[in-house]
Structure formats: structure tokens, C-alpha cells
């Protein structure tokens, strides 16, 4: 049979998951499927086990933070089918006080560290993850640094004069420079 196209995949998803697919968009050469966070694992498992499509390669997963939207925190997952050479992107957004997602490690073992990174950087909690702790930052860090409200520099440094750069970081005390 002829190779399926991305339209076949999207139509199939619409048929199976219907209302759980919130919207579709086209971003350059990728089709992006927006869905809710409860449906990510069922949809990706369905695509993983599908005999024709076989989306069995998880390319990447990362966290997103859009502070100005009603649902600021989101996860992006990108899957790839090596047999049909089709790629698909999924996004799920949620509010700041409900950051728990289901873990994808049951479907893709590669999602283990990807989810740890998302937890480290944004604070997503993945239910059922075997070892959800910080991976890249120090273990006792108490904030999630890639959120937009935190600056890039360390807030406790004292030897960089930001007034020369037109910035005043939080916790900056000009008297400390003189000590």
C-alpha cells in the first residue's frame, strides 16, 4: 500500500480522538496538534502502537512558558516515524497551579530524562515517573530557572555593576560593591 501522508495521520487522529484534539496548526513544515494534558499519553501510545504509522521514535520533549496567556505552561512533544518518515508535534498547555502531567516513560523510555529536564527547568510534575528529581541544576535549588520571571544571571552575585548596562537586578545592593 502507498505510504501514508501526514493528512492521513491527522484524519485518523481526528476520527479516534475527536473532541480531545483542540486544534491543528501548520508551523512551517510541521503539523502541530494541540490537545489537553490528559490526552497526551493516550494519543502518543495510540500512534506508537499503530501498525501503519508507527510513530515509535520520540525526537524531543520540552517545556514552554508563555507568561501572557491564560494557560501559560505547556509541554511540547515531537514524534517521528522512521518507517514512513513523518514527523508530528504535540502541545498541551495548562495553568500554573496544575502542572502535573502523566509520564511518557511507559511508552518511550527516552522520555525519562526529557521529563526530568522539564521538571528541573519549569516545575512540571510527571505522575508515575521513576526518578523525578533535578537533573541539570544543583539538587537543592529552590526555583525553576527557565520560567520567564527569573533573570539569567545569578541574583546573589555582587561584582557586576548592572547600572552600567541599564539594568537593576533583584536583590542588588550597590553598597556590596564597595566592600
Amino acid at each position: 500500500m502507498e505510504k501514508p501522508t501526514i493528512e492521513n495521520v491527522l484524519a485518523d487522529l481526528q476520527q479516534h480522538f475527536g473532541s480531545n484534539i483542540l486544534s491543528l496548526e501548520q508551523a512551517y513544515d510541521f503539523s502541530v496538534v494541540h490537545t489537553t494534558k490528559e490526552n497526551i499519553v493516550p494519543i502518543l501510545r495510540y500512534l506508537h502502537d499503530h501498525e501503519t504509522f508507527r510513530f515509535q521514535y520520540l525526537t524531543t520533549a520540552c517545556g514552554l512558558h508563555f507568561p501572557d496567556s491564560t494557560k501559560p505552561f505547556g509541554m511540547m512533544y515531537q514524534v517521528h516515524s522512521l518507517t514512513t518518515n513523518l514527523r508530528l508535534r504535540f502541545k498541551a498547555f495548562t495553568t500554573a497551579n496544575d502542572l502535573s502531567f502523566d509520564t511518557l516513560t511507559t511508552v518511550f523510555p527516552a522520555a525519562n530524562w526529557m521529563e526530568r529536564e522539564a521538571f528541573d527547568f519549569f516545575g512540571f510534575q510527571f505522575k508515575g515517573h521513576p526518578n523525578l528529581k533535578r537533573i541539570l541544576n544543583v539538587e537543592d535549588m529552590d526555583y525553576h530557572p527557565l520560567r520567564k520571571e527569573y533573570p539569567i544571571e545569578d541574583a546573589t552575585r555582587y561584582d557586576k555593576d548592572d547600572t552600567l548596562f541599564g539594568r537593576r537586578p533583584a536583590g542588588y545592593d550597590p553598597k556590596r560593591l564597595q566592600s
Binding site: 541539570l136 541544576n137 527569573y150 544571571e153 545569578d154 541574583a155 561584582d159 557586576k160
Partner: protein
């Protein structure tokens, strides 16, 4: 080419100033000890990132690092003289670096290779230590991102100059003790 070019006279290990006679040579002890030490430094390559690859190039045959006496790289701090910190030190790594430094026996020298080790480099971020001299005393800084092997060798030659001219009493002097105390090292 018409003129003959004579290479400059370069002494690898020049004799220190002293009094010479038939069959003997007298100089001060610290100069003799300094001469021996500086030409047989055993480095500990603490290579973390890109500067480490330039160090590998320095160690390779083109820029041969072994000719300066560093034939034997020691990866154990207890057996090393010179700690070469090459690459970015993140805040997560800082306690490890401190522990390695504390395990080294006196006399020890520290060479900070690259912009990241000297001052944090281009990474002015929350996770990068802005210079290893926040946690350990440094003797020579080698700037560059990454420094060329010639610059790394120049840094080592500067360390050798420091080693050759160091007084034997330096490590017990009050100034040195005060320096270590300012870092919290006993």
C-alpha cells in the same frame, strides 16, 4: 636567501646565579630547588569543556607539552603539583574542585585556563561560577576562548617562572596563611 639566519640562543634550563669552581657549583637552596621543581611539574588536567580539547591538542605531538617536564599527567590530586583548571566550572562542580584542591599537597600551583575558569567567560548565568578564584587561589590566568596551545604553554611558562623564583619559606609565611584563610582553606 642571502643572509644566514642564526636562531636565538635559548637556554632551556639556565643555571641560577651562583659561584662556580672546578667540580662544584654553589647557589642558594631555594634556587636549586626551584630549578628542579619548575622543570618537572606534574599537572592535574582538570578539563571540563572546550579548553580541555585544546589541552589535548597541546599534549599531542604538534605542540608537545611533555617537553616542559609534564610528561606524567597525574589524575590523582595527591600526586600532582599543578592544578590546571580548563573549562567552565558550574556551581554544581565547585565543591568538587574545592575538594580536589584541598587534597593536593604543598607546594601546589593553580593555572586557570580559559575565560570560563578565569571569570565565568561568556556564561554570565545562574549556574556558572564566575571565576574559580571565588573558591581557590589562582596563580596564573590564561585568557582565551579557548586559548591557543601557544597561550596555554605561555601560561605554564609563567607558572615555571613563579616556581623557580619562589622562596622556600613561602608556604609557611603569614601572608600565604592569610591568603588560604581568606578562602576558608586550613
Amino acid at each position: 636567501m642571502s643572509e644566514i639566519i642564526t636562531p636565538p640562543k635559548f637556554e632551556v634550563a639556565p643555571t641560577p646565579p651562583g659561584f662556580e669552581g672546578p667540580g662544584f657549583f654553589a647557589t642558594t637552596l631555594d634556587k636549586a630547588v626551584g630549578l628542579a621543581r619548575k622543570n618537572s611539574l606534574w599537572p592535574l588536567p582538570f578539563a571540563t569543556s572546550c579548553c580541555g580539547i585544546e589541552f589535548m591538542a597541546t599534549m599531542a605531538s604538534h605542540y608537545d607539552f611533555a617537553r616542559f617536564g609534564s610528561e606524567r599527567l597525574s589524575f590523582s590530586p595527591r600526586q600532582a603539583d599543578l592544578l590546571m583548571v580548563m573549562g567552565t566550572i558550574a556551581k554544581k562542580m565547585a565543591p568538587v574542585l574545592r575538594q580536589v584542591y584541598e587534597q593536593m599537597a604543598e607546594p601546589r600551583w593553580v593555572l586557570s585556563v580559559g575565560a570560563c575558569a578565569s571569570s565565568g567567560g561568556i556564561f554570565d548565568t545562574y549556574s556558572v561560577l564566575q571565576g574559580i578564584d571565588h573558591i581557590i587561589p589562582v596563580d596564573v590566568y590564561v585568557p582565551g576562548c579557548p586559548p591557543r596551545p601557544e597561550q596555554i604553554i605561555d601560561g605554564v611558562l609563567n607558572i615555571q617562572k613563579l616556581v623557580g623564583e619562589e622562596s622556600l619559606r613561602r608556604r609557611n609565611s603569614p601572608e600565604y596563611k592569610q591568603l588560604l584563610a581568606s578562602y576558608g582553606i586550613e
